[in-house]
């Protein structure tokens, strides 16, 4: 059953076409990887799903509800129940870890907010860091704070834009394990953007390979590994080299 549906989406930045009549279904409660080179349109797809961008052609559906049509936003980002981990994490540098996570919890009792934030920090083993500022944490810890901030609002979908690119292998592995746990514990559908297929092969349920704004192939990890598509074969080989 699909949770996100993109139908005939076209999108251009200035004169450059980034997505060209792209259609894509993303399954519920799965980890879906969007794989492709820089400029293939991966981040644009995430931004269209969040509602930070609006397609110039086509429709976007979330849980079968039409959320964007050509040049028009129907459901604003904050009402889509989406958590988004930006590539630069976008942690507010002037807020403590606690406030970074609590900031989105509006119109709630202070005691409720505190419980939710501390529970979340506890889940990631970062309770001691509540009063620290983001720059006082390691890259991996910052990553977990960004995930905590998104999850505390109980989203149904978690979008991640190449967030592990600057981490060492150990931290990367740790967070990838957490993602599998999160999918199960929080009943999440995760869409993950990367150019690293090895990362995708570790935990992905589904993989979509993109090139120049078009889908080259999609399906399970096994299907992609054995793809007949020339671009996919080439992409996987180059990456292995």
């Amino acid at each position: 059953m699909s949770i996100i549906k993109l139908k005939n989406i076209s999108y251009s930045y200035d004169e450059e076409r980034v997505l060209d009549k792209l259609s894509l279904d993303i399954e519920k409660n799965k980890i879906t990887y969007l794989l492709g080179n820089s400029g293939s349109g991966k981040t644009t797809i995430l931004r269209l799903i969040t509602g930070l961008e609006v397609p110039q052609e086509g429709n976007v559906y979330i849980e079968n509800v039409l959320v964007s049509i050509a040049n028009s936003l129907i459901v604003p980002p904050e009402k889509r129940k989406i958590g988004y981990i930006f590539q630069d994490l976008a942690l507010w540098p002037h807020f403590t870890v606690y406030k970074n996570i609590a900031f989105g919890l509006q119109n709630k009792k202070e005691s409720d907010i505190e419980k939710k934030v501390l529970d979340m920090l506890d889940f990631f083993g970062l309770k001691d860091s509540a009063n620290k500022f983001p720059h006082q944490l390691s890259g991996g810890q910052q990553q977990m704070i960004a995930i905590s901030r998104a999850l505390v609002l109980k989203p149904k979908i978690l979008l991640m834009d190449e967030p592990l690119a600057n981490l060492d292998i150990k931290s990367k592995r740790k967070i990838l394990k957490y993602l599998v746990l999160l999918k199960e514990n929080f009943n999440l559908s995760i869409v993950y953007v990367t150019h690293d297929h090895r990362e995708a092969f570790e935990i992905a349920d589904d993989i979509v390979v993109l090139n120049d704004g078009k889908i080259q192939d999609s399906g399970s990890t096994e299907k992609i590994k054995n793809s007949d598509n020339e671009f996919v074969k080439d992409f996987l080989e180059i990456e292995d080299d």
């Binding site: 930070l52 904050e78 989105g104 901030r149």
Partner: protein, 519 residues
Amino acid sequence: MGRKTIKYPVYTIALALYLFFIVLPVLYSLWLTVTDGHFIENIKTVGQDSIILLLKSSVLAAVIAIISTFFGIILGFLIYKTSINYRKFFKVIILIPLFISPYILAVAWRDILLLFFDKIENSNSFFAIILVHSTIFIPLSILIIGSALVNVSKNLEESALMISGFKRMFFNILLPLIKPAILSSLVLVFIFSISEFSVPAFFSVRVFTTEIFTQFSAFYNHSLAMLQSSLLIIVCVLLLLSERKYIADSPFLSIGTRGKTTKLYDFKSFNKIAYLILIFSVFIMILLPLLILLYQSFKDGTDDFIEAFQLLIPTFGNSLFLALTGAILTLIFGFIAAYFSEIYRKKLLDSSLLLLFAIPSIVLGIALIKFYNRPVLNTIYSGVGIIIIGYVAKYGFIAAKMLENAIKQIPKSLDEAAKIQGIKFYKRINSITLPLVFPAIFAAFMINFLFCLGDLGTTIMVYPPGTEIMPIKVFTIMANAPESLTSSMVLIVFLFTISIILILFSIFRKIFTAYNVNY
């Protein structure tokens, strides 16, 4: 049928107010120039003499722009790019002349020059203008060029240094990279200098701004004054528009480059020479004028100083109130223009601020008088409202530019992350944007406050009779007062300004600490 709502109410209100109270008067005055029936006659009068005068003023402004930018590069490099001790001290102290009214330095330099010449006339009065204006505008160039220098990526310099020497890297990598800032410095100093009125008036040099002032105040030929003003406006607007691309993209007066690392050079043996250059510059630009003012003020005892103080007492409160109000309003318009220009690409308010910035103070003053001098607007015309409007018109662009650069440095994702979390527009501004640009807000406030406090060009045209304002009081008295009284007044204004700077610094420091700005 659904009710229509304004998409950006704050922006729309600010724009409407700005267009009505500030842009409309200027357009109205220009319209009057063309339609008052003397247009053809005035065009004939403007003739060759005015053109020659404009050329003379342009050459003078160009010389000052070149000198200021040249020294701006040298001193900017020494302060911002070398690892010599006391860099922070020099960084602050060298900016002092920028925040002092030009006439203060004019008085000081007259006193210095009179030690060498019997009287100041013709050629040495030109030299005096170049000297005073350069002293004031070198700090502006240092600020612009220094901001650009610290923003150059360390990697670019280091990769060049791997394959060539310092000299080659400096001329082939560093200088070309800061070219936009160099051009900004040249254009801005030129515009400030050609628009400045008090220094040429003080040294009795006939330039274009003094000519406009004479036509307006002595001959009451308002339409000719406006027509001459139009020529000046055209020169300034054309220059600013042609360089807008560079000014918009260069880190002009950028404050707070958090997280960026800049390469600092340690020249070891050259450090002594660097110190000498910096100490000599501080001596010439600040200490010498201050010492001469002290000497002139007290050479015949303390009577003149006490008299000057008594004369200025009534102006302190008014000047402070006007400058504070002007700075706050300037900051509000500047922030709205910067925020909507950067985040929502709404450029009209920003462009209007730029246009008004290009209009010389004296011309702006004339436009405001022509528009507000009517019964229905008398409350503004005969009160301090017209002065505050003048401040906002003249200095709004500076605040907008500084804040624009600060907003530009905040990753867009910080606002988007809050947006996705359902944080409303005003809370996002209040909790995310404002705290992150707080250092720039502080700097913009200080700069505009000091500009308003020392403004003479616009204020002298629009101040209502009976209003006691510091620069006006000094300027009107100094024409007939003995040198020692003038020097005393100027010294008091100088000390007053420095005291206010120190008080504001300590207030903001407390706010910085309370809000943990140095995260």
